[in-house]
C-alpha cells in the first residue's frame, strides 16, 4: 500500500514537472492579454502615447530596393541581399527641423534626403544636392549613412557606407554636398554595415569607425567563387576588417586601426561609441553577426583594448545586430542593448540587455544580461532598436524592429537554414551548399516590439496597442522629434519595404526638456557630449551619438521626458574636450540650445 502511494506521488510529481512550461506559458499569455486588451484609441490614456503612421500624408514615399547580386547567389538571394534599408537623422540645413537621409540598395535606385519643410511635410531633395545616385553595380550599393561635422564648419557632413566604395560628402552650408571621398583617402571597397563618428582622441575633430561585414576582397556582383559565407554560424572570423579613420583636419584622414588595436575579422553588423567608464574618452561596442560581441575600452585616445570577455559581454556567441545605449534605470550609467535572433522552437538566442553590474566601474566594469528579467529578451529576428522616452514619463523606452525575409506566407526556410548552419565550415562557408530558398520566408511577417519602461526594472510590450503594427522586414530605426513638439517620433526603414514614419502623440501632462549642443573646442557636432539632467530627485544621462542602433542615427538633439510636475534642479554637460558645464535654469518644454563655453 505504501509503495503504491509513493508511486502515485511520483507520477504526480512527474506530471507536475511536465506541466511547468505550460503553466508558465499560460501565465505569460494571460498577463500579455491583459496588457494588450483595449483598442488603440485607449493607448494614449493607458500608456501616455500613441503612434500614427503618416509617411504618405507627410510626403514621404520611399520604398527600399534590394540589390541583385552575382547570379551564383540567386538561390539564396533574399537571404544574402537582406540589408541596406537605413535611416540617419540630422538638421542638414540648420533650419531647426530634423531631416532624414534614407538609403536604398537596388542597382540604379536612389537614396533620399527628406528635407523637413516644417509644416508637417517633407520633400526629397537628394537629387538636387547630389546625394541620390549612389547605387551602382560598379561602385556598390548603400548600406547606411551617418552624419557628422568632420570639418567643424557647423554643417553636418555625410558618410555613406556601402557594399562597395564608401563615400564622404561635405555639406556646403546646407545648400548642397561635395564629394570628399578621395581627399579623405577612403578605401576603394568595403563591405560595411556599420559606421560611427567619434572623437576617439579628443582632438576636437570627428574620427570615423567603419566595420566590415563581408571581407573587403569580395565583390558581391562578381564572385570568384561561392566561398564567401561565414565559416561558422557563431564562431566566424572570416569577415571584413575594421577601419578607424583618424581625422587630420582639412578633410584628410589617416587609417589607424592597426596602430590603435582595432583589429578584428568578425562580421560586424552594428557599432556605437559612448563613454562607458567616465574617462572622457569614447569606448566602442561592436555587435557581430556569427560570433561574440566585442567591447573596446579606449585607453585615453592612444589605443583600444578588447574587454568583451572581461566585462562579460563577449562570452556567448550570438547574431548581434544592434548597439544602443540607454540609462534605463536613471542611475547615470548606460546599459547596452544588443539584438539577436529568436525563433520559437528553432533558435532562442534572446536579445541582450547588458546592465552594469552593481559595484563595478572603471576598468573593472562588468555587465550582466538582464534582458529576460526586464522583459526585453524576445524580439524575433531582431534588427534595429533604439532607446528613447516615448511617453515622456522620465524613463527610457525601447523601440525594436524585426523580421528577416517575408516571402511566401505560410512557408518557412528555417529547417534548411539550420541544417546547413550547423554544418562544418567547409559546408556552411560555401553558398552553393545552401538549399534554394524558393520563395520561402525566414522569420518573416514579424510583429514589432515597443517596450515601455516602468522605471523599476520591467518593460512592457505595447506595440500593437500603441499603433506600431506593421509587419515589414524592419532594419533601421531612428527616434527623432520631427515636428518639434517635444515627442519622439519613430522612423523605420524596411528592407524591400516602405519607409514608415510613426508620428507620436504624447499625453500632454508629462513634461520634457531637450538640448541642442554645439561644440567649441570639442567637435562642433558635440558627438560624445554627455548630458545629465537632475530632476525630481532623480538623474538621467544621455550622450550625443554619432550613430547607434542598426544602420541608424537618431537626432543629435537629446530629449528627456520628465514626467508630471517636473522641476529640474540642474543640468550638467560633460563636453568631449573635458569641460564640464552646469546649466542651472534650463527651460522645461523647450529645446535648450547650448554652446560649449
Amino acid at each position: 500500500m505504501q509503495v503504491r502511494i509513493s508511486k502515485i506521488i511520483l507520477v504526480i510529481f512527474f506530471l507536475g514537472l511536465l506541466a511547468v512550461p505550460l503553466v508558465l506559458k499560460r501565465l505569460s499569455n494571460r498577463s500579455e492579454a491583459a496588457r494588450l486588451a483595449g483598442d488603440p484609441g485607449s493607448a494614449l490614456s493607458r500608456y501616455g502615447f500613441r503612434f500614427e503612421e503618416v509617411s504618405k500624408a507627410s510626403g514621404v514615399n520611399f520604398t527600399h530596393k534590394a540589390p541583385q547580386l552575382d547570379p551564383k547567389l540567386e538561390h539564396i538571394m533574399p537571404q544574402v541581399a537582406s540589408m541596406g534599408a537605413a535611416v540617419a537623422v540630422a538638421d542638414f540645413d540648420r533650419d531647426g527641423w530634423q531631416d532624414l537621409y534614407v538609403t536604398s540598395s537596388g542597382e540604379g535606385s536612389f537614396n533620399a534626403l527628406y528635407r523637413n519643410l516644417g509644416d508637417g511635410t517633407f520633400r526629397d531633395v537628394a537629387g538636387e544636392v547630389g546625394l541620390a545616385d549612389l547605387n551602382r553595380k560598379e561602385t556598390g550599393v548603400s548600406m547606411g549613412a551617418v552624419w557628422g561635422d568632420y570639418d567643424n564648419d557647423g554643417y553636418e557632413d555625410l558618410f555613406v557606407y556601402k557594399w562597395g566604395r564608401p563615400e564622404l560628402f561635405h555639406n556646403d552650408g546646407g545648400r548642397g554636398f561635395t564629394r570628399a571621398t578621395e581627399k579623405a583617402s577612403l578605401p576603394q571597397w568595403v563591405n560595411a554595415n556599420s559606421a560611427v563618428w567619434l572623437d576617439y582622441d579628443r582632438d576636437g575633430r570627428l574620427d570615423l569607425f567603419v566595420g566590415g561585414y563581408y571581407p573587403e576582397s569580395v565583390d558581391l556582383w562578381n564572385l570568384k567563387d561561392t566561398r564567401m559565407m561565414p565559416e561558422s554560424f557563431e564562431y566566424a572570423q572570416n569577415g571584413g576588417r575594421k577601419y578607424l579613420f583618424h581625422n587630420l583636419g582639412g578633410g584628410s584622414f589617416e587609417e589607424v586601426s592597426e596602430q590603435v588595436g582595432l583589429q578584428s575579422r568578425r562580421w560586424a553588423l552594428a557599432a556605437s561609441a559612448a563613454d562607458l567608464r567616465g574617462t572622457g574618452f569614447p569606448d566602442l561596442f561592436i555587435a557581430n553577426d556569427y560570433g561574440v560581441a566585442e567591447l573596446f575600452f579606449n585607453e585615453r585616445g592612444k589605443r583600444f583594448r578588447e574587454v568583451g570577455k572581461a566585462t562579460g559581454v563577449g562570452f556567448a556567441p550570438k547574431s548581434g545586430m544592434n548597439v544602443a545605449y540607454g540609462d534605463i534605470l536613471n542611475t547615470g550609467r548606460f546599459s547596452i542593448y544588443i539584438t539577436n535572433i529568436s525563433e520559437e522552437g528553432v533558435l532562442i538566442q534572446g536579445n541582450n540587455l547588458w546592465v552594469p553590474r552593481e559595484g563595478t566601474s572603471g576598468d573593472k566594469l562588468q555587465y550582466e544580461n538582464l534582458a529576460r528579467d526586464m522583459g526585453v529578451e524576445l524580439g524575433g529576428w531582431s534588427f534595429g532598436a533604439q532607446f528613447g522616452d516615448l511617453n515622456n514619463d522620465g524613463f527610457q523606452d525601447l523601440y525594436l524592429t524585426n523580421g528577416y525575409v517575408s516571402a511566401d506566407k505560410g512557408t518557412n526556410y528555417w529547417y534548411d537554414f539550420s541544417k546547413v548552419a550547423g554544418g562544418n565550415s567547409t559546408i556552411i562557408s560555401d553558398a552553393k551548399n545552401w538549399p534554394p530558398m524558393g520563395g520561402r520566408s525566414l522569420s518573416g511577417y514579424q510583429q514589432k516590439k515597443v517596450w515601455i519602461n516602468d522605471g523599476a526594472g520591467k518593460f512592457s510590450e505595447v506595440a500593437q496597442v500603441v499603433g506600431a503594427s506593421d509587419t515589414y522586414d524592419g532594419r533601421s530605426v531612428a527616434l527623432v522629434d520631427l515636428w518639434n513638439r517635444g515627442a519622439l517620433d519613430a522612423v523605420v526603414a524596411n528592407q524591400r519595404g516602405p519607409l514608415l514614419v510613426y508620428k507620436n502623440s504624447v499625453a500632454p501632462e508629462n513634461d520634457w526638456i531637450d538640448f541642442e549642443l554645439e561644440g567649441g573646442s570639442s567637435n562642433r557636432s558635440a558627438i560624445g557630449a554627455q548630458v545629465r539632467v537632475y530632476w525630481n530627485g532623480q538623474v538621467q544621462m544621455q550622450e550625443v551619438s554619432g550613430g547607434s542602433g542598426f544602420c541608424a542615427q537618431n537626432q543629435r538633439r537629446v530629449h528627456f521626458g520628465l514626467g508630471k510636475n517636473a522641476s529640474v534642479e540642474r543640468v550638467v554637460i560633460h563636453w568631449p574636450s573635458g569641460k564640464i558645464q552646469n546649466i542651472l535654469t534650463p527651460r522645461i518644454g523647450k529645446v535648450n540650445t547650448v554652446k560649449e563655453p
Binding site: S6, L10, V11, F13, F14, L17, L18, V20, P21, L22, L24, K25, E231, S232, F233, E234, Y235, V292, F315, A316, P317, E344, G345, V346, L347, I348, Q349, G350, N369, A371, R372, E377, L378, N412, W414, Y415, D416, S418, K419, V420, A421, G422, G423, N424, S425, T426, I427, I428, D430, K432, N433, W434, P435, P436
Partner: protein
Amino acid sequence: MNPAYSPPASPSTGEAPESTVSGSARGRRFRYDSRLTAPLFITLILLVGQLSFGILESYYKTALAIGTAILVEVVLARVFTGKWPHLASAYISGISVGILVRSPAVWPYALCSAISITSKYVLRVKGRHIWNPSNFGICAMLFLASDSVASLSVQWGNFVWPMLVVWALGSIIIWRLKRFHICATYVLSFLFFSFLRSWLTGHPFLAEVAPITGPMYQLFVFFMITDPKTTVKSKPGQCAVAFSVALVEMILRLNENVHAPYYALFIVGPIANLIEMWWTARGSAATAEPALTAAARNNG
C-alpha cells in the same frame, strides 16, 4: 542522452562490466570502474568544446543542470529503492542537458534535468525504463517549451579538428565498449539517407550531410543511441534500431522537422524496447510451459 553507460540504481544489477587495471610497482591493484568511461568521455567533449569555442551558454547553467540531475537521482533512488545510486548516469544526463539545451533562461536547465531523471523512475515497463532519459527530457522541453528552449544545433563551432578529435576518440572508446556497431550503423544509414534526401529534394548532398558534421550529433551518436539501458540487447537488434532511428529521422527531415534526430529516437527507442520485451516474454513463456507441463505430470 544519457546513461551512455547508465549504471543501474543498484550496483548489484549493474550491466557495465568492471575492469581492473594493474597498479603501481608495489603491486597494489587499482580497480578502474568502467562505468566512469562515459562520464569521462562526455566531460572531455565538454572541455574540447568549451576550450576551443566557449560553447556553453554559461558555466552556472551547466552546473545547474548537472546538480539538479544528481540531486533528483539521489532523492528518487533513496525514496524509491532505498539505495544510494551510482551517480555516473545522472552526471551524464545533467551534462547532456547542459550542452544540448539552449535557452537564455535558467529554469529550463533545471527542469529538463529533473524531467529526464524522473522519467527513469516513472516510465517503466516491467522494471525497465524504456526511454532514454535525456532524450525524453529534451523532447519534452522542445515540445512543451518551444518559446523558451531550442536544442544545440548551430551554436557550436563548425571547424573540423575538434570534431575529428571527438569522433576518433569516441570511436575508440565505443569500440572498446563493444557498441561501435550501433554508431557505425547509424552513421552509415544517415549517409545513405542523406543521399536519398538529396535525390528526393534536389538539395546539395553536402547540405543533407551537414547536420552530422555538427557537435550535436557527436553526443547523439556516442551517448544517446548507444545507451545500454534503453537499447535492445541483441547485436542485430541494436543495428536494426539504429537503422530505424535514421529512417524515421529521414521521414521527419523530409517534413522539415528541425529536431528530427531527437524525435526519431523518442519514437523508435521505446517501440524497440517494447518489442524486445514482448519477444523475450514470449520466448520465456514458450520454454516455461513445457517445464510446467512436465512438472505437473511428475507431480501427478
